[in-house]
């Protein structure tokens, strides 16, 4: 089936479904092939019906998975093939491959210091993209340039195909949270949102809607200065969602939040992504992003270190270790330890061995006749991998681009 013949409604979301109102499925029932090439899809999951075209599917773009999500006959996420046109979340005819954040050779210098150095990456719709780097890596500077607040010295950033400032209603293209409490302390949350909504002609109804969405109904008429950090973050997210944007960009949204708030943000991000939006979230904590993000853009000293999926990042874990429990630690050391192999005693009879695979260790201890109670290969966690990657960047100023999004 040719691209032109793809039913435009494939890209409809809840809104259009509701406006159709007849309850009939908008697209063919479950199990249908890719709308572009008719290759059969693969079912994943049960409660939600997800289809992924088969592997090596010719139309998939590099990067995010090619996924159409069906949910109660609602198409929530665009089928992601090359240059497909269709209605976006608001029923506008658009090229769906353009609904994303794209950063090209972005460079920003402050005097002699280069805050962002020739940075290129993209954040795609339908997934949460984690933007990671140590403090001072240039994350916030990059985000300000994406928003058009800071002018780059070189390169450019586009949101949904254009610089954000070139859009008629920037709030409806990108919702951003830069600082948690960027509100006048004496102005009420509701008035803050009303003023922001007024700039773009967003109806008052929507203001109350986002207040409900972030759960601030009870304090909406109180001055924002009295808000806790968590409430401030919620208000910031309410501002970001005000224009019902296709792309959402949040700078350190979990900073200073309590566990409940963190869980709430985590779920919100996943939900926004599941709705087909581009979600771009910065953090300096891999442990946090590992739980929400499917794709990672990691920078250090303003340079790109990695632009990888979570699977690729896991595979990059260079240092694997093996945990061995044995009563004969002395002999274990004798048999295994060399310049490349480190044997660390974690206490009592537990040893952590790096530099050898579990197979190699198993064979050698067997050959030496050492009794082993436990032999467990351990993969470095995403966080450890992240630490290792960023450490390199900091120590050696290295420009190492690992695994171009395959």
């Amino acid at each position: 089936m040719a691209v032109d013949a793809v039913p435009r409604r494939v890209f409809s979301t809840t809104r259009l479904f509701l406006s159709d109102g007849d309850g009939a499925p908008l697209v063919e029932p479950a199990g249908d092939p890719c709308t572009q090439c008719r290759q059969p899809g693969v079912q994943r999951g049960s409660d939600e019906r997800r289809w992924t075209p088969r592997r090596s599917h010719g139309h998939s773009r590099p990067g995010p998975a090619v996924i159409t999500v069906w949910l109660e006959r609602r198409v929530r996420r665009p089928l992601y093939c090359e240059s497909l046109r269709g209605d976006d979340a608001r029923g506008r005819d658009r090229d769906h491959t353009a609904l994303m954040i794209e950063v090209v050779n972005l460079t920003k210098r402050y005097g002699p210091k280069t805050a962002v150095d020739d940075l290129s990456f993209a954040a795609h719709p339908g997934i949460v993209t984690g933007f990671l780097g140590p403090n001072g890596a240039g994350k916030s500077t990059t985000m300000r340039m994406i928003l058009g607040l800071d002018a780059p010295n070189a390169g450019h950033a586009t949101v949904n195909g254009r610089p954000l400032a070139a859009h008629r209603a920037p709030l409806a293209e990108m919702g951003a949270l830069l600082e948690a409490k960027a509100v006048h302390p004496r102005r009420s949350a509701r008035n803050h949102l009303l003023a922001l909504a007024a700039t773009t002609g967003i109806p008052v109804r929507r203001v109350d809607e986002v207040i409900g969405l972030v759960g601030l109904e009870e304090v909406a008429d109180q001055p924002a200065g009295g808000f806790s950090l968590g409430m401030g973050q919620r208000l910031g997210i309410a501002s970001a969602l005000l224009g019902d944007p296709e792309t959402v960009m949040l700078d350190e949204p979990v900073n200073g939040l309590d566990p409940e708030g963190i869980l709430w943000i985590r779920n919100l991000l996943k939900r926004l992504a599941a709705e087909g939006r581009t979600v771009f979230v910065s953090s300096h904590l891999m442990s946090e992003m590992a739980l929400t993000a499917e794709h990672f853009v990691i920078i250090g000293r303003g340079r790109l270190i990695a632009d990888v999926s979570s699977v690729q990042l896991e595979a990059m874990a260079s240092e694997q270790s093996v945990r061995v429990r044995t009563p004969d630690g002395v002999r274990l050391r004798e048999v295994l330890a060399t310049d490349e192999v480190r044997v660390i005693n974690d206490g009592s009879d537990v040893f952590t061995i790096t530099g050898l695979t579990s197979e190699e260790i198993g064979s050698r201890v067997h050959a030496a006749g050492i009794v082993v109670y436990e032999l467990t290969p351990r993969q470095a966690s995403l966080e450890e991998t992240f630490m290792e990657l960023t450490q390199d960047a900091v120590e050696y100023h290295a420009h190492l681009t690992v695994g171009e999004a395959a």
Partner: protein, 280 residues
């Protein structure tokens, strides 16, 4: 984890309807509306405006009644012009308005709200114009009311001993309206300085220096330079259209107004250039 998965997929976010999104877009008119919401939704700004009116009217009435009852500071009444007595409170209330203007803008920078505003209104300049229109308009309206209240009240209290001035006397209406316009103009200077300097403390410092300090310092210059220079400073240019007394040290009312207007417009344009060129 299963709980969170169900949250992520089962409840759709409420959205804008297509009929609503068709009309989305930033316009100058909408930004003005937004700034109006901002202005009236902060109680301290509203209280500041009320204070400016209260000071303008209250001091005017107070001085007029002192002078009228013969308790005024100076015996030589002839040198006192009853009009400027009535409008004496404006000397203080213009400062209040100037400070409000600075903090209206600089406060938005200090909280980081200006970044949000500028990312919503990517052109940025509409924000500068909207703030000017809303704050300039609001102050003009309330200060006009204050000026007439101070004038009529002041003349009524002053009336006992001296000949009073009437609104129909030459230049009086111009001076009363001029006092309000000047106060509002100082507010706009404050807005422009707020955009230029972005911090409240520095902005208020520069504004006060401009209004209070610099006119005094010109006295240190040789007369040949000081005289023409002093005339075109904002407070003196303002004085030229706010008073009816003949004063050789002042410009004509019309020239004074034009010079003051040039200050306001000049600083707003400079602010516009800065806002457009600088990183927010």
């Amino acid at each position: 984890m299963s709980a969170s998965t169900s949250t992520t997929t089962s409840v759709p976010s409420p959205t804008l309807r297509p009929s609503e999104t068709d009309h989305l877009g930033v316009t100058q008119r909408r930004v003005v509306k937004a700034e109006w919401i901002k202005l009236r939704s902060v109680r301290s700004t509203v209280i500041g405006l009320i204070a400016a009116v209260a000071v303008a009217v209250g001091l005017g009435l107070l001085f007029s009644s002192f002078a009228g009852s013969g308790q005024g500071g100076r015996p030589e009444r002839a040198s006192i012009d009853p009009l400027s007595l009535s409008l004496a409170g404006f000397n203080l209330s213009q400062l209040i308005i100037g400070v409000l203007g600075v903090s209206l803008v600089a406060g938005e920078y200090s909280t980081g709200l200006m970044r949000t505003t500028f990312s919503a209104v990517a052109g940025r300049l509409p924000v500068l114009w909207a703030k000017s229109i809303v704050f300039g308009g609001a102050t003009l309206v309330v200060m006009l009311a204050a000026a007439f209240a101070a004038f009529f009240g002041g003349q009524a209290l002053y009336g006992g001993a001296e000949p009073t001035v009437a609104l129909s006397d030459p230049g009086v209406l111009r001076a009363v309206v001029g006092a309000a316009a000047y106060a509002s103009g100082v507010g706009l200077l404050g807005v422009a300085i707020g955009f230029l300097l972005r911090t409240t403390a520095a902005g208020i410092g520069v504004l006060f220096a401009m209004l209070l300090l610099v006119p005094g310092l010109t006295g240190l210059l040789p007369d040949s330079i000081a005289d023409p220079l002093t005339k075109v400073l904002p407070p003196n240019a303002g004085q030229a259209f706010m008073s009816v007394a003949d004063n050789a040290n002042l410009l004509s009312p019309t020239a004074g107004f034009l010079v003051f207007l040039l200050w306001v417009v000049g600083l707003l344009v400079a602010a516009g250039v800065a806002v457009k060129k600088r990183d927010a």
